[in-house]
Homo-oligomer: 133 residues x 2
Amino acid sequence: MDKQLTALETVFKALADSTRLRILALLTTGEVCVCNVHDTLRIPQPKASRHLAYLRRAGLVETRRDGLWIHYRLAKRSNPVVAAVEEAVREALAESPAIRRDLERLKKQTGCEPAAPDNTLPIIQLTARHTRA
Amino acid sequence: MDKQLTALETVFKALADSTRLRILALLTTGEVCVCNVHDTLRIPQPKASRHLAYLRRAGLVETRRDGLWIHYRLAKRSNPVVAAVEEAVREALAESPAIRRDLERLKKQTGCEPAAPDNTLPIIQLTARHTRA
DNA sequence: TCCATATATTCCCGTTGACAAATATAGCAC
DNA sequence: GTGCTATATTTGTCAACGGGAATATATGGA
């Protein structure tokens, strides 16, 4: 199995879980910390952490520590074809009512919204967005 | 979990296996029967059959019986966002050396090649293509 | 009917992954 | 140091999945 095929398989395994899809939808709005993920999606903290770790192992997200908080963001894609898949996913996710509700809750908590659909690069937002500080 | 989200999860689960990705790449050339799948991919027949069944359960492929042979083809996508994902996948698959080799072998056996990249509809090819008759 | 071919399914086994609950680690404030 | 908060990891359990090998089913032909 060559690198291209392995890379695709890895990406699709990472996408093959609804919790991770919801997390990725949140991340299209910019950086999000773990507390906002588990508050917004209403899932237990260990569950958020576990899926975020999975996404990081798969290379789809990157982290930045800021004191107590760890901010997750979409990783810059090295593989252009993978990027195309992700762009299609991003548009598809916007169609899900569950994800719309997640994004509404995130907006209430942090004031952040998804970027314009044609903006394919992850938005790196350096202002802190957690609401628990 | 709503319908959109469930649909995406189902599709990604189906795509999250390299054997199935290779099969889907074959199917971009049109209808293929099981014998051509397992000959071309050089995998045991039960393995080909099992993964084809998985793809059918997931709604990604459809079948047509023709005597002893069962021809598989890509299903027409009802969901446009899923179709966009699949189109991105189609282009990504063309980058894999393993898949290029699979397609070469298929071409040797049946004379069929992938369609033009901008042809997003599955090609329904009604001529028999198996080489064992 | 019997045989041959194409395809599907079953059985067994090992691995992965998802979950909840509990526990551990890391950084900050005091 | 002690506490407090945010995050990560471990534990145990369970279901899903992948693989090979063997077997079953279905169709067509002599």
